[in-house]
């Protein structure tokens, strides 16, 4: 079996909803509807504002992120230089045997790619990662038309640069509400 076939056969649990819903979940969730978060380390005001707005954009759903100014909350964001890795955003977590996120979940923005980009693009990337951190998986691909584009599409050039999406779309909201 080739590496690609093996990888395709043993992969992340992406749990799609019915075709009409067009969202997918990653099989993990929080026990409550509100989760505190803050930054691993201080960052500049552009990133701080964009990432705070990104988290808050999910508060239109039945789940909400609450920013705290100190301590070690279950979700922590970081915007730093991870290098020319190929990704501009990353979510990192472990999931318990009962299907709940273990703290700490990392929501990460790679400044190697985002420095100098519009604030809304940074917000699009961060909001997408916050979506993973509440339990959503990817939907769509590079060719998804803008009329069907979701925040949970994992190609920044399609999601934001082509379609201008930086907030949860109706199906993203439906997905969060389905979990919580």
């Amino acid at each position: 079996m080739t590496a690609a076939a093996l990888a395709a056969s043993i992969a992340l649990p992406v749990i799609p909803a019915s075709p009409a819903s067009a969202y997918a979940t990653n099989g993990c969730r929080w026990g409550g509807n509100t989760i505190n978060w803050n930054f691993y380390q201080s960052t500049n005001s552009t990133y701080e504002t964009a990432i705070k707005n990104a988290a808050a954009s999910w508060n239109v759903t039945q789940f909400s992120y609450s920013y705290v100014t100190s301590g070690f909350p279950p979700v922590r964001a970081n915007a730093t230089y991870y290098g020319t890795t190929g990704w501009d955003g990353l979510t990192q977590y472990t999931c318990s045997s009962s299907g709940f996120f273990n703290p700490t979940v990392g929501v990460l923005v790679n400044r190697t790619y985002t420095d100098g980009e519009p604030a809304h693009e940074i917000r699009s990337i961060a909001a997408h990662e916050f979506g993973h951190a509440l339990g959503l998986a990817h939907t769509g691909d590079e060719s998804t038309p803008c009329s069907s584009m979701h925040l949970m599409n994992h190609f920044t050039d399609a999601r934001y640069e082509r379609c201008g999406v930086y907030t949860p779309q109706p199906d993203d909201i439906n997905g969060a509400n389905a979990i919580y």
Partner: protein
């Protein structure tokens, strides 16, 4: 939809060591306890070999050797020694290739390339790894984290990532100007 194809024996279950089998991120034993899951958002998607070649500083066939894990900003990266099969005068005989995550992590090939497996041969489109653009570190990364094909038994190479515009299968031959990559079998 790609998501439909990703249901596995672990669907509906949590990501733990008990999920069984090899981690999608590469060969290797699963660590005890919950497995780290990574979701990545691609910065760039390459639609063709020509686009990939334009972004590359080096296109090589090489064999993966030993590797080590480094942590940067809370994220583990695997750095693998790659021995180039037929180095030219302008390429080194051995390089280090950095990838995100470890062989024990759980991820998706549409988001992150599977960790290079020791002893396997790969076609690699590479560019210098830079923390900040314009400042190479000496290591290399796979362009877009997409330009990687694994050698198969038939002589063809199979793309290890998914949801790109790149050919899933290519063949490689030598030429006086370096290797030539031909899409298809």
């Amino acid at each position: 939809m790609r998501a439909m194809k990703l249901l596995t024996i672990c669907a509906g279950l949590t990501i733990t060591a008990a999920c069984g089998g090899q981690a999608a991120h590469g060969a290797g034993s699963r660590p005890e306890g919950p497995v780290t899951v990574l979701h990545a958002s691609r910065a760039t998607n390459y639609a063709s070999l020509d686009e990939l070649a334009t972004a590359s500083t080096m296109i090589v066939v090489g064999t993966a050797g030993s590797s080590h894990v480094e942590n940067l900003g809370g994220v583990d990266f695997t750095v693998t020694d790659v021995t180039i099969t037929d180095p030219t005068s302008s390429s080194p005989s051995q390089i280090e290739v950095r990838q995100t995550g470890t062989a024990g992590d759980l991820t998706d090939p549409s988001e992150l390339s599977p960790i290079l497996s020791r002893g396997k041969q790969y076609l690699l489109y590479l560019q210098p790894f830079e923390l900040q653009k314009g400042q190479p570190t000496g290591e290399y990364v796979i362009v877009g984290d997409e330009g990687v094909w694994e050698a198969g038994d038939s002589g063809a190479y199979q793309l290890t990532v998914t949801q790109t515009g790149l050919p899933e299968t290519v063949k490689v031959s030598d030429s006086p100007n370096g290797i030539v990559v031909i899409p298809g079998q």
